[in-house]
Each structure stands twice: as C-alpha cells, then as structure tokens.
C-alpha cells in the first residue's frame, strides 16, 4: 500500500497524459465526426462514399493495429510523428469513425417532417441543422457518445505500447521498480474507473436535462 501511495506523484503525471490524450481524441473526433456524420446523411454521393468507406474501413481494424500503423508504418511514407501525436492521431482516427455512425443515427432518427417544416419557413441548411435538427438529435446522440468517450479513455491505455508514458505505462514502470503489481494495478484500475464513472454520471444528468424534448 505504501508503495502505491509513494508512487502517486509519478502516477499523477501519467494520469495527466491519459487525460490529455483522451481530451484531444474526444475533441478531434467530435468535431470531425459530427461534420462527417452530417455529410453522410445529407451529402451528395461524392461526399457520402468517401466517408462511408472511411468509417467501414477504420471500424474493421483493431485500434492497436491502427496505432502501430501510424507510429511505425507512416514514417516509411515520410510522415514522422512522435509517439504522443502518433497515438493521438491513431485514436482520433478510430474514434471519429464511431462518432460518424453515432451522429448519423441521431440525425436520421429525426422525422423528415421536421426538415420539411424548417425548409418551409425559409431556413437555410445550416440554420436547419442548428435550430431544428441538432437540438433534437442531441438527445439520441449523447448516450452512445458518452459510451464512446469512456471507450476512448480506456482505449488510451494502448498508447503505452508505443512508449507514451500515460497512466498505464506509469503504473507498469512503478511495478518494474517495486515488483508489487497488485496494489499498483488496483490503484490504476480505480483511477480509470473514477474517470469513467464521473463521465457516465454526467451523461445521466445530461440525459435528464434533454428529456423534455419529445417527438
């Protein structure tokens, strides 16, 4: 137990990296995923097919393969990213594909009559998105998206495999020094759990907040 407590400052550094990676991945995938999700629902074929292909392809690859590909594979094509940014890029690419599908499902759950009515009063495309479609779709979007966010936090542990000292690798480094795996893995697990438990409580609060929107 003492070792676990003494190692806390070092674990704290790792935790910050985990949070940083997760936050970047969540933010990047949210923006690109929602825009591409809109593209896949409303875009012409030239927009639809590349997004469809991307989403299907990426979701069919294990995320670890993606991480190794970006870190070890891309330098062969002349693109050198350090471990941290390679990890962020790979995880964000992966998460984006999921956000695309979540956004697509949420948008398509809105009855087409809503779009008809919004067009009929003269709203432009982005006005219809902003004032009519998104405020209703957000209720369908949030629960699976928070799931995806917690997945992103958990999935970020994989970046330890290319040497990014996140919470996971910090735990392993301490274990390497102290040969006391149990207390450290338990500590690590508790921290991951607390992050994700906070996120899902937040999600339940948000769901209640949007519950008044009924079709």
């Amino acid at each position: 137990m003492r070792t676990a407590i003494e190692s806390l400052p070092f674990l704290w550094q790792g935790l910050l990296v985990t949070l940083e990676v997760s936050a970047l991945v969540v933010a990047i995938s949210l923006v690109i995923g929602v825009v591409a999700g809109v593209g896949i629902v409303y875009g012409p074929r030239l927009v639809y097919w590349p997004i469809r292909l991307y989403s299907d392809l990426i979701r069919g690859i294990p995320v670890l393969v993606l991480i190794f590909f970006v870190y070890y594979g891309l330098p062969a094509l002349g693109l050198n990213l350090d471990a941290f940014w390679a990890a962020v890029a790979a995880l964000a690419a992966f998460k984006t594909a999921h956000v695309i599908e979540i956004a697509r499902g949420a948008i398509q759950s809105i009855h087409y009559g809503q779009t008809d009515a919004a067009k009929a009063i003269g709203l432009t495309f982005w006005q219809r998105m902003h004032h009519v479609v998104f405020p209703q779709a957000v209720r369908r979007f949030l629960p699976p998206w928070i799931n995806a966010v917690t997945d992103a936090v958990k999935g970020s542990a994989l970046v330890s495999l290319i040497g990014v000292v996140d919470l996971m690798l910090a735990v392993q480094k301490v274990i390497g020094r102290t040969y006391e795996p149990m207390p450290l893995y338990v500590t690590g697990a508790i921290i991951y759990f607390l992050i994700n438990y906070t996120l899902s409580s937040l999600s339940r609060r948000l769901e209640t907040r949007f519950a008044h929107i009924r079709e």
Binding site: G122, T124, Q127, H131, Q136, I213
Partner: protein, 267 residues
C-alpha cells in the same frame, strides 16, 4: 419582368416521376391573388406531390412553376440545361411560401411562441422582442393566447395545427399551402382548425388547399381541381364540380367518400 396579369402561382406542364412511376403529368394550374384553390382527388393521385413541388419540398422534372414571377426550382435557362437552385436561393423563395402540414410538424423542442418566432428571427431578421410580439399576436388570432409557452407535446392536435398555421402566416407569405391539415385530427377538433382557415380566406390570403373535406372545399374555395393519376381531370367552380359533377370519375370519387355524403352533411 412579370406581366401584371400573371397569376401569383403559375404551374405549366409540370411532370414528375418516382422511378418508373409517373406521379405528375403535364399539370397546368393558375392561382390568382386572394384566390383559394382546393385540390381534391383519390390518394396517390398527385395532389400532395403537386403542392410540395410549389415550394420545392419535391423537385419537378419537367415544366415550370412560378411563384410571383420567379421560377421556384431552377435558375434561368431552358429544358435540360437549366440548373437547380442552391440552398440559399431556395430558402429565400420558400420564406414567401407558407406551408401547413398534415402531421403539424411543430418543432417539439420549442414552445408554441418559439415555433412561430423561429422564422421571424432567423429568416426575417426581427429582434427577439419584436418577433415575440408578432408571434403572440398571431397565436391570439388562432385562439391560443393561453398556450404561448406550452410545448407541442402539451397541446391537443387541433391546438398544434393552429400553431402550425400561425407559424406559416406569421411570415406573411404570398401564398399558403395547406396539405390535408385536418386528416390527422380527431373529428371533434376539425372545426376549430377549419374556422381559422376560413377567416384567413375571408381576409384575402391566397391559398392552395389539398383536402378530403368536401364541405370545406366547397365553402372555402373559389375553384376546385380534381386530380387523378397525376393529371388534372376536372376543374371548375365548387358548384360545378362538387354539387353537379359531370366528370364520371369525379362522380365515382365523390360517392365513394362516405356512405353519408360529405356534401349532404354540410348542407
């Protein structure tokens, strides 16, 4: 320039197909200012599709639809070479064409007042207070002064549809399209909605009304159009078409409507 005599809505030789299925065939229709035209006919006859083409919720493949002299679906140009209009141009055209829907299509996340205000603020550019003022005035006109801050889910069907009408007319459209606006209502709620429309007609609102209520069509319209299989099969005054129908299919259609004839009920 539009000749002074051009009708506010001018439909010429409009045709449309869904794949192999021909839904509109060489449709001609003129609607003059302050005129009310009722479109009747069997389901699948093209009534709703024609109405939705007028504000381009559906595209038309052939022919021309002009509202107040402006071609709705296409930029200038002829035949196969004409180009579809972009999003912003369409939005501008649609802002002047009101529409009320069979299933109301109120925005469920907005109150009655906010439903009416959305177009006033974002399309007409009115400041919030001004938009609310105008929205409340229209909601009062349709008898909903006590419901302005209710969400659609808290309103009855008839009340929702009256909000739908207020939302459309608050934009002060050049023409109002009504798409079977009482079909989804319980029978006892139909009257309150039709009364509002009747009042609008009296005040000179130009309207195209797709309806299954023959009594309503007869009372409100200056002209009745009978559509069947994508064509206008008969056209004339309400008296000519509904009281003394000559057209064979129209007779069959009218007598099939209800065992107790809708016309007799309203007489």
């Amino acid at each position: 320039m539009r000749p002074l005599s051009e009708p506010i809505v001018r439909v010429r030789k409009v045709g449309k197909s869904f794949g192999e299925h021909r839904v509109l065939e060489a449709v001609d229709l003129d609607v003059e200012r302050a005129q009310v035209v009722a479109i009747i006919g069997p389901s699948g006859g093209g009534k709703t599709t024609l109405l939705r083409c007028v504000n381009l919720l559906e595209t038309y493949d052939e022919g021309s639809i002009r509202v107040d002299g402006v071609e709705v679906g296409y930029r200038d140009g002829d035949g196969a070479r004409r180009r579809p209009r972009g999003d912003r141009e369409l939005a501008r055209i649609r802002a002047d064409i009101g529409m009320v829907f069979q299933l109301f299509n109120l925005f469920p996340h907005l109150t009655a007042a906010e439903n009416v205000m959305l177009g006033l603020r974002k399309v007409r550019g009115l400041p919030k207070e001004k938009a609310r003022e105008r929205a409340l005035a229209w909601l009062a006109r349709v008898g909903l002064s006590d419901k302005v801050d209710s969400l659609p889910a808290q309103l009855s069907g008839g009340q929702q549809q009256r909000v739908g009408i207020a939302r459309a007319v608050a934009m002060e459209p050049k023409v109002l399209l009504l798409d079977e606006i009482t079909s989804a209502l319980d029978p006892e709620l139909v009257g309150e909605v039709l009364a509002v429309v009747q009042q609008l007609a009296k005040e000179g609102m130009t309207m195209i009304v797709v309806t299954h209520e023959m009594g309503f069509a007869r009372d409100i319209s200056d002209r009745v159009v009978f559509m069947e299989r994508g064509r206008i099969a008969a056209e004339g005054s309400p008296a000519e078409l509904l009281v003394r129908p000559q057209h064979e299919r129209l007779k069959t259609f009218l007598s099939s409507l209800n065992p107790i004839h809708a016309l007799e009920r309203s007489e």
